[in-house]
Subunit: 427 residues, 2 copies
């Protein structure tokens, strides 16, 4: 078993401290390392200031086996990170002609001269190594002292990520610092609260002392990550435990891994070789958007109508004017008519609809702000469903999209056999 690594991530960059940008690097590195069974022990963000860099880096280097930094490797005069860290380490910066050649080549391809300020980027730690940057000029740096590792990565995301995956991870694996492949199994649920999921996991946790369980909640979904505390459980055993969990969660089980609800619905539809159309008012295109994020979505997704006015509901989707007059555009009746209209007018086998008041204005006594009606038209039946949400407009939109997808997912799985037979008949 590997000795657990103590890892500290340092992100350089003032923009992270003044609310301009979110620290996506930390999330990315955390997820990448978690897949290899390593947790980041701590992390800090340091502004571009020599004293701050000195103190922060020294504290990190003293307490961690592996320090990973991001940013601060640019060519401008105020990027002093490299120089300051060399000073703290007490190591010389040496010119690397290979790096210079690479940067020159890069500029030659772009048909321009390498500026002298880029010469700075050709310096690395004496005894260290440079990491090739396939997407930019700043090379990464690796420096090892005894058991300790320092890895410095460039700030832009599209430079950092391939460098980390293609060069850093293989290197850490080779040195035995991280394990091979996946170190955890994720079970995704939808429809249960976090504490309910925790309670349902209790009997499983009690049976497996070496099991480490982490929970993550996002928009109605609760993820359960199963890992091993001490290396005594193999991946195959974790997968068996995940199967136990799946049985316990029943219909609230979504998938193993990271599939979105739209992905799950997409896979079910592909298996049936059938298509879907959407009609949405208050979700305003975000339900269609969730589908079209999937590469190859066009194989199941015919399209959608964002029907923000009654007129569009009537003209494009064939909802009877009298129905809207009698029940209103925000009603279960209209939701059903929208779903059937979408299926029919866009020539798709299934229709899914959302109509409601996302707020902050709108709503009436019967349907206050936050009231959402869903409609579902399938070859085996037509359904509607109503929910009430609190929260701001964007929250309501996002939750309604998740709820629509989760509802369709359940219906598809529940009527799997009927759907399959109807699909057969439909050929």
């Amino acid at each position: 078993m590997l000795k657990p690594l103590s890892v500290e991530v340092i992100n350089f960059g003032d923009e992270l401290l003044v609310g301009i940008r979110e620290n996506t690097h930390l999330t990315y590195l955390g997820e990448q390392l978690a897949h290899h069974g390593v947790s980041i022990t701590r992390s800090r963000v340091i502004m571009d200031d020599v004293d701050e860099i000195k103190r922060g880096f020294l504290q990190a280097w003293e307490h961690a086996d592996l320090v990973i930094t991001t940013g601060g490797l640019g060519p401008t005069a105020d990027d002093l990170t490299r120089e300051t860290i060399a000073e703290v380490l007490g190591v010389e910066l040496v010119f690397d002609p290979e790096v210079e050649a690479t940067i020159k080549d890069r500029f030659a391809v772009l048909n321009c001269e390498m500026g002298t300020h880029h010469l700075k980027q050709c310096y690395g730690f004496k005894g260290g190594e440079a990491l090739h940057n396939e997407r930019g000029t700043a090379p990464g740096l690796i420096y090892q002292r005894g058991e300790k590792f320092l890895i410095m990565l460039p700030g832009p995301r599209h430079e950092l990520e391939p460098m980390f995956e293609k060069q850093v991870l293989p290197r850490l694996r080779l040195d035995g610092r991280i394990g091979e492949g996946d170190a955890y199994v994720q079970v995704r649920t939808c429809g249960l609260g976090e504490s309910a999921v925790e309670q349902m996991m209790q009997p499983i946790i009690e049976r497996h002392a070496a099991l480490a369980v982490a929970y993550c909640v996002h928009y109605g979904m609760v993820d359960v990550r199963l890992a091993c505390r001490d290396g005594s459980l193999q991946l195959a055993e974790l997968k068996l435990i995940a199967q136990e969990a799946r049985q316990i969660f029943r219909a609230d089980f979504v998938c193993f891994g990271h599939c979105s609800l739209a992905h799950v619905v997409y896979h079910e539809l592909r298996a049936l070789d059938r298509t879907l159309a959407i009609a949405e008012s208050c979700t305003g295109g975000s339900l269609a958007d969730a589908f079209t994020d999937i590469p190859g979505a066009s194989s199941v997704f015919a399209g959608g109508v964002v029907c923000y006015t009654d007129d569009v509901k009537v003209t494009l989707l064939g909802v009877p004017e009298s129905l809207i007059k009698q029940h209103g555009a925000v009603s279960p009746e209209c939701a059903v008519a929208l779903a059937s209209g979408a299926s029919e007018r866009l020539s798709a086998n299934y229709g899914l609809s959302v109509t409601g008041f996302a707020g902050p204005d709108g709503g009436n006594e019967k349907n206050p702000v936050g009231t959402i009606h869903f409609g579902y038209h399938s070859p085996v039946g037509v359904w509607c469903k109503t929910v009430h949400y609190t929260g701001g407009r964007l929250d309501v939109k996002a939750r309604a999209v998740q709820a629509a997808l989760d509802w369709m997912r359940r219906k598809l799985r529940k009527y799997k056999l009927e759907e399959f037979l109807s699909a057969e008949r439909g050929r």
Copy 2:
């Protein structure tokens, strides 16, 4: 002038270190404080471990005037943050009967009993104060020693944010730690690269020695934040400088502040009292989504069609089949037909369309993956435009949405007079 505060933010929570969640609290606090002229000096994320909390908190407390923590105030046994910090501070935890009464009231409203594990949350630092939590059980904590401040906030976002805005900011203002109101002015641009914006700002920067300028790039937009280094420039002067910048950026100037491109288009349309309809294929609903994120969008937005198949383009939007046969669905010709079709079929004054190949598959020799055609139908004319993007599917979608909105924004401003007159005629 206020003495510049040294501020450290500590986020407690393992989920931030294993790639489960992004550190939105840091972004939020950074932005809030930046509005009051204060920058966060440094920040760290600490896992739920007594030794880690001790060392991390001590380092922060030694070097900062103001330490803000988030998370770790929950009722469960493994939330040891409060106890550990009290130990480092050498201060006693004392029971606060007022907090207990508030938590009990909260449970009474929900018709349930307060569990004994919540008693933990009734303890605060001796000599400190509790911050009322209007959205949850965990109160925040304030502790002052000499000139130093410690502020502990609960982890859930909807609890933290109102607490910070309604209680912490007024308190810091009262104590003279932060200034009143906005400390910077933001100029938003679109269509220029970061280095071009920097160059164009040079003459202005040279004229105003006390000006502090920060840049932020996101999806084709570059924001310029103008603040003052030393308190010698008032907000009114910053606003004048921002006006100078606006003149320099000409048509690439989007707005002062944080309006999205969709917002700017929305405001222009409201001013004209006219409506918009959208037809989109490869952006798959995200263009409509950008509009419907705006509260009150229904006053200008009629709706949209996500036309993922040729059939939908023909049936719902009236694109001639022969046109698609001759030029293909991904063509400038089809983009124009889609925009006009959207405007006509959804009874809107304007039509905006996007058709292209977002990838990873699709594309042909003439229109490789990343080719996007835009169409625009207005009361004063019809236009089309083509761009080529590199990058992944989601990137292409997001960039195409921004480009469509920026294009419409420019057109609306360019033909403002004509549009206004046509609007008058249209009445």
